[in-house]
């Protein structure tokens, strides 16, 4: 397939067919903000922070998913784009604990978002789930970027231990029938912890160290003291 030439913010760029607007912009040295996007996960276009204006197209398009077209004229900035990005960030800050998401905090500052814009707003609070020795789940920090579900599924592990529950604002991530992690197909590979952008999934060791627990105490608690007895069949 022939290469495609398009214009991004007035500058011309030529890329192979099938390239996304996000990657084409990168080639020009222009960064489009992203939250849910991850180079090693399937792109789903969920956060919509990466939306850009494309001439002749009514809605804004997600740069992470939209493929370039010959002669396309793209604007990665502008009033519409900035309003959408700022409002999405403000709504996210009103619903989720972003205290351990430095990249998103930077966007909040960059787009002059008012973190307190929505008084009396329902938050997505959830008790911390601590049901296995390897990692804890603090879904009050979950931004529903889907990366954990993706890597547990077809992006990496093909284990399918976690998935979505509920719908709309009350969507959450969890295990089937809310079973504790050790009773699921989870093999504790840590892929999900690795891709989580907000600290909603955190290794237990890291969490305990943060709480001031010593390494010695951690090893005691997570490796257990008892010898395993072989169960007779």
């Amino acid at each position: 397939m022939p290469d495609i030439t398009l214009t991004i913010d007035g500058a011309s760029v030529t890329v192979p067919a099938g390239t996304t607007i996000l990657k084409a912009a990168e080639k020009l040295g222009r960064t489009v903000p992203t939250i849910c996007y991850h180079d090693h996960c399937t792109a789903n276009g969920l956060c919509r922070i990466c939306v850009v204006e494309v001439e002749g197209v009514k809605p804004l398009l997600p740069a992470c998913l939209s493929r370039v077209g010959e002669g396309m004229k793209v604007s990665t900035a502008g009033t519409r784009v900035e309003l959408s990005r700022r409002t999405i960030l403000e709504m996210l800050a009103s619903a989720v604990d972003l205290s351990e998401a430095p990249e998103i905090q930077n966007f909040l500052d960059q787009y002059h978002a008012d973190r307190m814009r929505f008084p009396d707003a329902d938050r997505r609070d959830a008790p911390v789930l601590d049901d296995n020795p390897m990692y804890i789940r603090d879904y009050a920090k979950c931004i529903l970027c889907w990366r954990c579900v993706q890597v547990c599924a077809n992006d990496a592990q093909f284990t399918y231990a976690i998935n979505f529950k509920g719908r709309g604002f009350d969507t959450s991530i969890g295990t089937f029938f809310d079973k504790p992690m050790p009773e699921t197909t989870c093999v504790f590979c840590g892929q999900c912890v690795g891709v989580c952008p907000t600290g909603a999934l955190k290794s237990k060791r890291e969490a305990l160290l943060e709480q001031g627990v010593s390494l010695q105490e951690i090893l005691q608690a997570t490796k257990g003291g008892k010898k395993r007895r072989r169960k007779t069949p």
């Binding site: 789903n44 276009g45 969920l46 956060c47 919509r48 922070i49 939306v51 809605p59 804004l60 997600p62 519409r80 309003l83 959408s84 700022r86 409002t87 999405i88 709504m91 996210l92 009103s94 619903a95 814009r117 929505f118 008084p119 009396d120 707003a121 329902d122 529903l144 979505f164 509920g166 719908r167 709309g168 604002f169 009350d170 969507t171």
Partner: protein
């Protein structure tokens, strides 16, 4: 791509009668019949099959019996939940794709909901807000978050307890959902609210009664 039953039902008509015959009904750019579901504060609510090209006034007053005794029309929600409000001044608009589009009103699914002067528009918007918050699938952030935030503000509006800044919040949430949502639900969920903000701006002042009387 055909994705609604009404369109499917027209296909055998076109095949049986032929295109020329089918085109005897309707207008140049909107041929054939259309189902309009008339509901709300009107004498004879119901499903009306009419040719494209009649006026809204004809549908509501000649076919559906007009307003209930001694009641004046306040607004008509055109298109469905994801619709916009028409006023008395819009009654002569022709019901067709092209004419409604020119008038800035949606045809949508053909739902036409009538509100008279006793209707509490604040309550109407609140219920629409609840509907969209329930229907949002939760995939994209503008709609997953926006429909909830919008619903909260519409609750305040219906109770007459709007806060300073709520008008701008609704406007920003609405613009973001229209521009950045992943699908048509998010893109149209704010339509009725944005329409109300244009037609009855005083309704969104803080401490307004919330009914949409002005």
């Amino acid at each position: 791509m055909i994705n609604n039953v009404e369109t499917f039902c027209n296909v055998p008509l076109i095949i049986e009668r032929g295109a020329a015959d089918y085109r005897k009904l309707g207008t140049e750019r909107s041929p054939g019949p259309k189902l309009f579901c008339v509901s709300g504060q009107i004498e004879r609510p119901g499903l009306y099959e009419v040719p494209f090209g009649i006026s809204l006034r004809h549908l509501l007053f000649d076919l559906a019996g007009g307003m209930k005794p001694n009641r004046r029309l306040r607004a008509v929600l055109m298109g469905g939940a994801a619709g916009a409000f028409a006023l008395e001044k819009d009654l002569d608009v022709i019901l067709s794709f092209e004419s409604l589009s020119a008038a800035g009103l949606p045809l949508g699914s053909g739902a036409v909901m009538v509100f008279d002067e006793t209707a509490d528009i604040g309550q109407v918007l609140k219920r629409l807000g609840h509907f969209f918050a329930d229907e949002s699938c939760g995939k994209c952030y503008p709609c997953q978050l926006g429909t909830r935030r919008q619903h909260e503000i519409l609750d305040r509006s219906a109770a007459g307890k709007l806060l300073a800044g709520d008008r701008q919040r609704l406007s920003d949430i609405g613009a973001t959902m229209v521009d950045a949502s992943l699908c048509g639900l998010g893109q149209t969920a704010p339509m009725a609210v944005l329409s109300a903000m244009k037609l009855w701006p005083k309704m969104f002042n803080p401490q307004h009664s919330g009914r949409g009387d002005s």
